[in-house]
């Protein structure tokens, strides 16, 4: 498998605080990698670095061999990076459908004058956009179907908002999908559904997925590989079993005492 995303020696400070230090991370094509770690470990910052909210001070971020450092955020989306947000950032007053359609901006090409004249090219593109939105929403079965599609996004339940975020992210036609806590705030049934869904996203959608998740059942269920972060440093990497039983990971989550007790036992 070839590496789609490559982070090498990425470092970032916020003032005197080292948020990410010397991070190396590789995500291969068609792989699902989970990023875990306690709160404040720097997981979302890694996403922000990949999507261009911040640029690393040192190191390089490569997508399919091409460096993303210095590339403006919206151009990175065009190159194939798309994400969801931990703190849901939907376009609340747009309809469900429009949320997805808006995200097709980066790969549609009609100019404003073409929109004004409604040229055949523009109309064809608009039809394609609609079809794409249908397709992306249909991925979630009944959840985002029916009259809901014409409702404003704020009328959706929390879980449905998470689904819509994923639908919107996939509408940019990404190669790499970054999911920031897709199961947060969901009930067990919905969590299970999301687990299954992430697998389908890879198998049917063909996306490479990097996911931040706190729910270890989800992480276990979906991950090809798990990367654990703490204080901006990678502390473990490997299969779920290896990482979950790694001493430093347990220590990061539960503190030193728990590890000692574990060792004493």
């Amino acid at each position: 498998m070839t590496a789609l995303l490559e982070l090498s020696g990425v470092t970032l400070h916020f003032g005197g605080l080292k948020v990410i230090s010397e991070l190396d991370l590789v995500v291969s094509e068609n792989e699902i990698v989970s990023l875990i770690g306690p709160n404040g470990a720097g997981k979302t910052t890694v996403f922000n670095l990949i999507t261009g909210v911040y640029d690393p001070e040192e190191g390089d971020i490569r997508l399919d061999g091409r460096s993303l450092v210095g590339v403006v955020a919206h151009k990175r989306t065009k190159l194939g990076v798309s994400r969801t947000f931990q703190t849901l950032r939907l376009f609340l007053n747009l309809t469900v459908e429009e949320n997805v359609m808006a995200a097709t901006y980066c790969h549609t090409r009609s100019h404003v004058w073409q929109s004004i004249l409604r040229t055949p090219f523009q109309r064809r593109e608009e039809r394609d956009v609609r079809a794409l939105a249908d397709d992306k929403l249909a991925f979630f079965g009944d959840r985002l179907a029916g009259y809901r599609r014409r409702q404003p996004a704020y009328s959706l339940s929390y879980a449905n908002r998470r689904r819509l975020e994923i639908a919107r992210a996939t509408a940019t036609k990404p190669r790499l999908l970054l999911l920031d806590e897709p199961a947060a705030g969901m009930n067990p049934v919905e969590t299970h559904e999301i687990t299954e869904l992430i697998g389908r996203l890879r198998d049917e959608g063909g996306y490479t997925i990097l996911v931040i998740e706190h729910d270890m059942h989800v992480v276990e269920g979906i991950s090809d590989r798990v990367v654990a972060l703490d204080h901006g440093v990678k502390i473990a990497e490997g299969s779920f079993e290896t990482v979950a039983t790694n001493e430093r990971v347990v220590e990061a989550y539960l503190g030193l005492r728990a590890t000692e007790e574990d060792a004493a036992r």
Partner: protein
Amino acid sequence: MDDRSQQPPDGPRIGADEWVARQGEHRRQNELTRRLGRAGERIHPAFRFFALVAGIAIFGIATSDQYYQRVGFNTLYYAALALGLNVVVGWAGLLDLGYVAFFGLGAYAYALLDSPKFHHHWPALATMVVVGFGCAIVGILVSLPSRRLFGDYLAIITLFFGQIFYNLVGNLSLTNGQNGMTNLDPLNFFGFHITTVRQYFYVALILFTVVTCVLWLVNNSRTGRAWRSLREDQMAAQLLGMPVNWLKLLAFAFGASVAGLSGTVFASLEVNIFPNNFYLSVLITLYAIVILGGAGSMPGVMLGAFTIIVGLEVLATPDNARLLFYAVIAAGLVLWLRPWFWVPIVIGGTVAFGFVVSAIATAAWPDATKPTSFGGQNLTMSSWVVELTNPTRGGAYAYGALIAAVLGVTLLKGWVQKVALIPVLYLAAFAWENELALNPSVTAEILLGALLITLMIVRPTGLLGQHRVEIV
């Protein structure tokens, strides 16, 4: 491990949502009340708009009164202007306080290209093309330094640009300073000169139609969706691949272009233009239109323009204003007073109170008051509202006292408040008859302001605005 990773086989089907299905049925059953609205919605917006334009065109043929034609012209060019502002404020969500400068820019461009000043007499279409594109380019240039700003900061910067424009045209010899540009040519299309007010009305109608169509088409395209996404969440929009800075410039360009074209049409009818035509009062009126109608909604902005412009005209006539004043008070009492029997008590009490007061006042100060008349056309008012012979000072005091009294009444509760309403209402009638009715133009604006405040309390989204949510 845990059984959660293996869901029970007879659990809910993945992706199925019974609630949606049930809710769908429920909505179908309760649709009777909404059927009319739905029927309206089913008509394609293009047809609805066509019907509107046809209606306006017929109005132009039907009326021969130049005053009505002029009010129609004002409404139409204000509607076009407000639609342009709506692009920047309602769709892209950028608070632009320099918008009027582009209105002025269009007007002054016409004044320079089609007037005796430099003996240029361009064909109107050529001027309009230059103004349309020129204003768009200036709009982009002006917003370049502010493209990274939003919210209050952008408002301050744009206000500053508007002020610069006002000061420039007010002081440059090129624009004749405060003396303004005079004797502009009438619009000239291929040798055909637009001279009558009716013809200008139709020019404004064409402008309004073109602006509406172009903006509607843009709004229903990827650009419009991106603008509205930008308004909702700039960061999310950028991270989902929208070039937010470019989109902002584009919104400014569209707004500026529409404003410039409206300015051209305005200037050609006005014949003489002055810097004060393009100052803050116009900006405030435009914002009132956009907010009253509902920012972001095109039909809303049109309705807002109609309400404000026609409303101001209607209220400028004292009799209309008086009727509206008392009607609004009566309607307010009926809507607000609970239980219902307080309505006749308060209204009857006010009139009775008025008779007593006016009897005492005319007896005590016969010199200062007009005699109470129990006849004539104004029977009801002049028989119970004291009219001062010299209302200038007394009326002003009454007006001040009225504001204090209204604020005081809001602090009271229960029956005390309702009883206290009686003298306050009398004071309102007194202030009206002795002060406000004598200054119709000021009163019109006060009344309109009061209406706006009421509307914003009752319906903060504007007349046709969509319900908006900031954070959930």
